[in-house]
Amino acid sequence: MSAPILWIVLPFGIGVLILFLLRDRFSAWIGGGTAAILSLIALIFPIDTALLVGSISVKIAPAIQFFGRSFELNTADGPLLAAFYGLAAFWFFGTEASGTANRFVSLGLMIVSLLTASIAVEPFLYAALLLMTAAMLVIPLLVRSYQKPGKGVVRFLIYQTMAMPFILFSGWMLAGVEGSPGNLTATTQAGTMLGLGFAFLFAVFPLYNWIPMLMEESSPYATGFLLWALPTFTAIFALGFLDRYTWLRTTPQLANAILFSGIFMIASGGFFAALQRHLGRILAYAAIAEVGLLLVAMGLRSSEFVEITFLTLIPRGLELTVWALALSIFKREAYSLRFSDVQGLAKKYPAATIALSLAHLSMAGFPLLAGFPPRLALWTELAAQSLTLSLWVIIGMAGLLAAAIRTIAVLVMTDLETKWSLTETWVQTAMLGVGVIGLFILGMFPQAMQPFLASLPTLFEHLGQ
């Protein structure tokens, strides 16, 4: 068995089977179980290393050839696969609680396998095509067959499609720049192309307008999945670029551009989140601020920046899952998720309210929660570089905190006569409970992430060394 077959072909095939053969009832368990098993295999069996299981020698081969190109997953990819498939399992099990149909699990598995293929493909540049294909598979999750497509989904499709040519061209131009580093014109052109490509992929200001729109018009759970999966792999793809091309790593202007884009996204995301009166839009702006944090981490001129980037990526997945799940529970009661419609729901949905509040506070960098350790690490490095920029990050986080306080206030705002009741199902309560426990564990014992974080930087040959 080779690693690409195990973590790319197999989940894709199971996704196709679930789509055509299974009903909603079993899809969450089969999809979630598949992702959980793949996560465990990645954690237990190192790729390309022979292991003796009883009397049987097991070795997962690292590569396969496909149309003359190689798909390769190495030993260093193991922890990434374990973390990614583990979080994917949580998303898929969550579909049972969120009430989303089997289409989510089947398409989700296909998306996850395509995103895995994007880190495996050689030359790595082709990842842009796989990211685009994954983005296209997200659309049926966002727009159900009975629903008119809104502006958000159309913009999302346009921006993702426009990103791909920019990145593919820039990759070709960068190879030329490596050959003649003194050619300033070519360097500027390649840098601009690359910047535009990633601006579309990361939804950098002002290209993030589709995210709040999508949160209003689509299922919060599907949109949350999109906001988790695509930026995660885009970040790894971007780190691949920095690793591969020396001049990208060493150009201070580029690092500044990434840093300032991130700061702008955090500050604007936090500011706009504080002004929203719609729970979905608040999540959208919080997710934008989170992507900003990723960009700031990547733009740091520090040897620790790869570790900080990965430290930001792992809790982000958990926060978004819990938040999106809580929102989808509210959405069944109050379709629009406007403040006026969700007012006082805390007494009816206490578990969802607590989970949503904690996920939100975690994203705002509240101590003891999963989001705090990465933000602390980021602030420490950023403050050493620029106090002004640190202040802007704090302003953004303060905006998210204000939004959290407003959300909690609205959810608990009800008359005294209303009695407390636990309306959530046991599956919903259990999923939210597991998520909340995870938020606390990652916040209080961040060393729990150490097995993943220790070897993730070895994914990159030159970065952080």
Binding site: G68, V154, F169
Partner: protein, 203 residues
């Protein structure tokens, strides 16, 4: 020499087809123009790629045209009216925009040929024209069908240029998948909202 002439004819066809897609109110004419556009793009792509790989792009393109045509044909009268209200509006504005794209192409193509020798001016011109037309199209419409046509036009232009610098089979295959995927998505988004609720959960 004859190859060069045919390449220029292909570039001219691209200009006409892209302008037609942009200004035509009738979806049938737009899709026919898209099919012609793919034929011209096929010729320009085969300047740098083997015939078989160029054929993959042509077939994928025509399949997209067929998918979109069949879907559009099946839509109800109400849906058609709703979609057609956008056209015809500002035809001259669109023609002027295409004029600007043509001027930019005329200015940029020789310069690109200078920095990447061997691509061929008709190939570059065809590619830039389609990218420009695609961007213009995306800028002036919000109709699902028109947006899909704009994205396909933009991608076709990119493929012409990219074929000159990258000839991997995997890339050709994935680009064909992306084209087909865009066509299928366009068709899905066109019919979304017009089908009744089916499953228990949807109800």
């Amino acid at each position: 020499m004859s190859v060069e002439i045919i390449s220029w004819v292909a570039a001219g066809l691209i200009l006409i087809a892209a302008t037609t897609i942009l200004i035509s109110a009738d979806w049938r004419i737009s899709l026919a123009a898209l099919a012609i556009q793919y034929l011209a793009a096929f010729w320009l792509v085969t300047r740098h790629l083997p015939l078989a790989m160029g054929t993959v792009k042509l077939i994928a393109g025509w399949m997209v045209v067929a998918i979109l045509g069949m879907t559009r044909l099946g839509l109800s009268e109400l849906d058609k009216e709703e979609m057609d209200t956008f056209f015809p509006r500002g035809i001259w504005f669109r023609i002027v925009l295409m004029g600007v794209v043509t001027l930019v192409t005329a200015g940029a193509a020789p310069q690109i040929e200078e920095s990447i020798p061997g691509m061929g001016i008709p190939v570059i011109a065809g590619g830039i024209l389609l990218i420009g037309a695609g961007v213009v199209h995306l800028g002036v419409t919000s109709s699902i069908l028109r947006v899909t046509l704009g994205l396909l036009t933009l991608l076709a232009g990119f493929e012409i240029l990219y074929a000159a610098i990258e000839s991997a089979i995997l890339v050709t295959g994935l680009l064909a998948v992306v084209n087909l995927g865009l066509g299928i998505l366009g068709a899905y988004l066109l019919v979304a909202g017009s089908s009744p609720l089916e499953t228990e959960e949807e109800l």
